[in-house]
Symmetry: C2
Subunit: 399 residues, 2 copies
């Protein structure tokens, strides 16, 4: 068995091929990963612009003259604007271009109007309330870098530079196969108590969707070599990554581990010194990957996060699918094995730091998916770690 | 002008009406807000279940007998299973029900097989590798509480209890109106430099979508009283919240602030001692809300987050739309006003805490939306705060 660190290195060294991108409408871009640098093609604003409601003036008039004649109005969006010279001003509103000749905006609150003239009550410095050319950005500036996840601010900036179409990373297609004769699909009638309701397929589909992939739900296949083989072939043809659950352990009906090599796939590794999920297997066939996870709900979820999520992230050109943060143990933690352990924990931010505890978490088998409910994280303990005292700084995968 | 704290209290006291919910298929539930408690209707597992591959035995045989006869096979999902008695064992796999009479599973790795018998090489304690009834949860246990955002773990747990349909909060419908004669929509041809490309509509639409609302894009309307009034009426009829940008300041063309009361809406407040966005106005007409934001891109985004987002959250039955965390200032911060200030900052998690700096952030007008790009947060300074030294603990809205 290889170590967790070795397995992660091997994943990061896999040849993924070139980033595949597509052009989408801005309305479809939220949450996608940018596949190009967004570069400003002009200074913004392009012209000096008013930042308040007031009067555009020549600043030197403020000391020289007691009042200024109002030459006219300059509403935002106006096509033609008169020129300001010494002795006159133009009423100018937020978002309006500054009239030619003016260099300063004196706010409405700083003057009073007498007939057709303004009288200055309170002076302002040169250039006051004028947005200079390039205040927001300069031509050639990289506004948003490739690999950025597009959120609301990116959408706004893209709209502001009139980008209707955006190049984003294609969503990796991830096919999900649940194996096991005991598994009963959601909605299906239970015939006897030996059956287990499927959750893996749906947990993993939700993970794929959350991470920005496109899930292909291949359904459940029983412990039948021929049927499993066929389902894998179908999945390989319709996806970039095939994720399966079950069939990788040491039981007589664990067929997946034998079938994957027979599909012509090269096994990258099988077995990692981790808990849960030590039987995880990664294989590659051409440009496609097979990630075979254990069958228990908690094991399959954790190993998906550790192995399938980074593959998906690499295909989209992003470095890390999850944030790993440092947190402080609130209680003593008893390590149960000499493996790298990934333990569901509560992750709370209080008094300026993250804290880890296990209140309400059940210990038992790797079947307990409910431990991932709530504000859960995955606490990482290294192979060589022993029990950890309260107060220890630990690394936690933020879910 | 009221204080920021007063404005937030007034928002939290607004009468929102009963939570409106709908039933959706599990496949549509990811990211939605649960509108019911999810309660386990049985113990899980319902029967003692094997957690490994091995042999189901009577534990007392481990000391009493040197070997046990293999009575047969118990694959996962089997309908009928024989009974284990003293002297015999049944080969039992991960996920299989434990055969009647057995109390312990001895793993494959702990025995060797001689003809039709197993010989114990290494003993295990009573109950080893058996998932007891209710290991994951007990009948009547609240698995997921109302108000929870449905993520991958919730999806898996819901599938595991065979929940096809889930009651979730309805998405609040939020209509977005951008006002201003200077605003040019995305894709439209620029006719003269006085026009400004629209970004507010799209920033706010992305915020509505990200927060789980349903956006209704009402487009741009020029500074025309009649047209603005008509557009607001249309928006009120097709949404729960109308969000507008522009027209609330002190300029001659700021019509929105005059029109909202004429729509028969009660103004809850107009003007808050905040920077940016002091002219923000909140009004209510029947069960509907009008949130009129300033026109500058940074101002409208921040005030949406401060005022529209909490209204949306309350309509979905969740307490806070955003996390407010404590972070440490890396540099001295110069406060610019005696208002509550919301300053775009970089938020980085290093050495176990969040740090705030302003590298690459531009100071200038409230038009600079690009300051919200990157790992940005909104640093909150109170009215009474002065300049803040490096090392000060500040509160930051995590975006």
């Amino acid at each position: 068995m290889i170590s967790y660190e070795t397995s992660q290195n091997m994943i990061s060294l896999l040849s993924i091929g070139n980033l595949r991108s597509e052009r989408v409408f801005l309305s479809e871009a939220l949450g996608r990963i940018l596949a190009e640098d967004i570069v400003a093609d002009e200074d913004y604003p392009t012209h000096p612009t008013s930042a308040m409601d007031g009067y555009a003036i020549v600043h030197s008039d403020l000391e020289a003259l007691a009042s200024l004649e109002i030459l006219g109005d300059n509403p935002a969006g106006a096509d033609h604007v008169d020129t300001v010279m010494s002795g006159v001003c133009i009423k100018t509103f937020t978002g309006s271009l500054m009239p030619k000749g003016s260099d300063t905006l004196i706010p409405i609150e700083n003057v009073h109007v007498e007939e057709s003239r303004i009288v200055i009550d309170k002076s302002v410095p040169l250039g006051f309330a004028v947005r200079p050319v390039g205040e927001s950005y300069r031509e050639g500036e990289v506004l948003i870098a490739q690999g950025t996840k597009i959120g609301f601010a990116q959408i706004g900036v893209l709209a502001g530079i009139n980008r209707v179409m955006v190049r984003v990373a294609q969503r990796p297609r991830v096919a999900i196969i649940a194996t096991g004769s005991e598994i009963l699909d959601i909605g299906e009638k239970e015939l006897h108590p030996g059956q287990i309701r499927s959750s893996n397929s749906y947990t993993l589909q939700a993970l794929v969707d959350s991470l920005g992939g496109e899930s292909v739900q291949m359904g459940i296949v029983g412990d039948d070599k021929h049927a499993i083989m066929e389902r894998f072939e179908e999945a390989l043809h319709s996806s970039d990554i095939v994720v399966s659950t079950g069939g990788v352990s040491v039981g007589d009906y664990d067929f997946v581990k034998h079938i994957v090599p027979k599909l012509g796939a090269e096994v990258i590794f099988k077995g990692v010194n981790i808990k849960p999920g030590q039987h995880v297997m990664i294989a590659q066939r051409g440009s496609k990957f097979i990630v075979s996870l254990p069958g228990f709900a908690y094991s399959s979820t954790v190993t998906f996060i550790l192995y399938a999520a980074p593959l998906m992230a690499r295909m989209m050109g992003i470095e890390n699918p999850y944030e790993v943060i440092e947190a402080t143990l609130k209680v003593r933690f008893s390590k149960r094995s000499n493996k790298s352990e990934f333990t569901a924990c509560n992750l709370k931010f209080e008094d300026g730091r993250y804290w880890v505890d296990f209140d309400g978490k059940k210990s038992g088998s790797s079947a307990i998916l409910t431990n991932l409910l709530g504000d859960a994280g995955l606490m990482i303990c290294g192979e060589e770690d022993g029990d950890l005292d309260a107060g220890t700084l630990v690394r936690v995968i933020k879910l």
